[in-house]
Amino acid sequence: MTDLTASAIADHAPLLQTVGLTRHFRIGGLFSNAKLHAVDDLSLTIRPREIVAVVGESGSGKSTIARLLAKVYEPTDGDILFRGRSLHDVKSRRDVLAYRGQVPMVLQDPFASLNPVHTIGYALDRGLALHQPTLTATEREAEAIRALEAVGLSPARQVLAKYPHEMSGGQRQRVGFAQALSYKPKLVLADEPVSMLDVSIRIGVLNLMARLCEEEGISFLYITHDIASARYVAHRIVVMYAGRVAETGPTEEVLRRPVHPYTRLLLSAVPDPKAPITITAADTGEPPRVVNPGPGCRFRQRCPLAIAICATVTPDLTEAVVPGHMAACHVTAPEAGMVA
């Protein structure tokens, strides 16, 4: 397996790096041998001040990645290195809390992620008490106010006293970001943070992410099914298909010169009135459930370019035209098959 970091820009040490990260889920009854391969052999690098988008359809494993990085799931195999330290060594409650303070998560549903019986101030204070235990109550309040103002919720003092039901969806999602921000994080895991919001409000939240990255130097892992929004905010993009990386690289480069047939299919399906209709009704767009998969490319049943080797050898990620732009395809990146 090629190491993605080899292509990393040398003067940017990675903030977080995964090595052969794998997560399987046992499914079925007690004696079932079936394993769902949610994520297989993922090597991902996130550098400081970088927004990395993970794009894929439902079932592609993108949310599993976020949960692995948040230490909600333990990996089946492989490792996650945060600032050079293996997460296998982050075990004690204190270490885990400290890690989650540096790598907090923003959840998809702003209507379900805030406790309706507590004020916004309580929610922020409680998180801070957990993740920044050295702060006094006054310092916590000052920090909560700073975070609310940084996400554009003002006057912050009044927001502290509000209950979730008094706020709109967009405002609640901003509270989610303020919560993450108050821990002074290095990397925020944002799992579909805008998909539940109305279209006119989404852009505001995306702009917020871009601004926090720029001004506060925070990195983001932006998980989404919306490739257009990924292009809008992300520096680099990772296209997932059925638990494996299909293609990755600098966002503009990948979207302008997509190498993998799946990336091309995905791009052609984006609803965009400016785009030509290129898709045929023949591809009905059903990603597979990856239960006990054999070797071979997981996209081959839907792939218009599939050849014999696709059924027998799993394609590795190989470098395309530009450094850092990699795709896992036997046909469009032909050397890949030879390396195996």
Binding site: E57, A228, P271, A281, P287
Partner: protein
């Protein structure tokens, strides 16, 4: 328009709960031609689904049609008895709901549900029902073997296709769709849209397609109606409406979709959030979020004025009348 199949006139729908009634649909009028594809777009809470339910005569308390007429094939459907409606539904118009899993009966096979629908409309010939069931499954591109499947055995995309097949069983003149693709992934979504459009061209039925995603219908609808806070704020042919949106809200909506093509531009979206329907601002409802707001906007409630190729509910276009 002499060829109108549907004429919606001044429809008002209110939700009565404790306190002020919320007017979800406020004096909405439009006509739909035979074989026309109309997209209705808007954000959550703008009344688009309520309007669709009002057209299909499916409103249930606390929602209530307060006034207005829905004239379908020359007959006002408002106030028709349930029995009369039942004979029209599925035969003359059908409805495809957002969540097929909730709309299909989980304990009956697809063919049994097709069978029910046909029998309820007087088709009792078993062989005829079987033939027609196979026909509609072929139309939506699903192998007839799945007539024996239960809904849970089908994927999300297939279930929506089965719903559409069912809607086409009795060859209706109008199919009303409420976000039928919103639970699907992009590729499946695009594929279903292409298919709906092909079927519509081939069979000639009219479509009302409700969605929150304006960019989704851009390639498929003939006309587009944009709703905001219970009112149509802009209506017109799809292409010109995308090329030269008139109403500031439509412009803002279009400025909310990042594109994967062309140069990357910073987008602003629309500040603020939609108003509470029980506590609407005076004058224009979009006023608090509007970048082109004038003093008069607070005093006058704008009508739909012609502007460009569309009609827009905005005082900016008042003088062009």
């Amino acid at each position: 328009m002499s060829d109108a199949i549907l004429d919606v006139r001044d429809v008002v729908v209110e939700y009565t709960t404790s306190g002020e009634p919320a007017r979800a649909v406020d004096h909405v009028s439009f006509t739909l031609d035979r074989g026309e594809f109309l997209g209705i777009v808007g954000e959550s809470g703008c009344g688009k689904s309520t309007l669709l339910f009002a057209i299909a005569q499916l409103l249930s308390p606390p929602a209530q049609l307060v006034s207005g007429e829905v004239i379908f094939k020359g007959r006002n459907m408002v106030g028709l008895r349930e029995g009369e409606l039942r004979s029209i539904r599925w035969r003359d118009y059908s409805v495809v709901m957002q969540s097929a899993m909730n709309a299909l009966n989980p304990v009956k096979t697809v063919s049994a549900q097709f069978d029910d629908t046909m029998r309820a409309h007087g088709q009792t010939n078993a062989a005829g029902i079987r033939t027609r069931s196979r026909e509609v499954m072929a139309l939506v591109g699903i192998d007839a073997i799945h007539l024996k499947s239960y809904p849970h055995q089908l994927s999300g995309g297939m279930r929506q296709r089965v719903m559409i097949a069912m809607a086409l069983l009795l060859s209706p003149d109008l199919v009303v769709m409420d976000e039928p693709t919103s639970a699907l992934d992009v590729v499946a979504q695009r594929s279903l849209m292409v298919q709906i459009k092909e079927l519509q061209r081939k069979l000639g039925f009219a479509v009302i397609f409700v969605t929150h995603d304006m960019s989704l219908v851009g390639h498929f609808s003939d006309r587009l109606a944009v709703m905001y806070a219970g009112k149509i704020v802009e209506i017109g042919p799809t292409r010109p409406l995308f090329a030269a949106p008139q109403h500031p809200y439509t412009r803002g909506l279009l400025d909310s979709f990042p594109s994967v093509y062309g140069p990357k531009v910073a987008l602003k979206g629309i500040p603020g959030s939609p108003p509470d329907l029980t506590d609407l601002p005076s004058g224009c409802r979009f006023r608090p979020r509007c970048g082109s707001v004038m003093a008069r906007c607070a005093e006058v409630e704008p009508a739909l004025y012609p502007s460009g190729d569309t009609r827009a509910r905005c005082l900016l276009f008042e003088e062009t009348v």
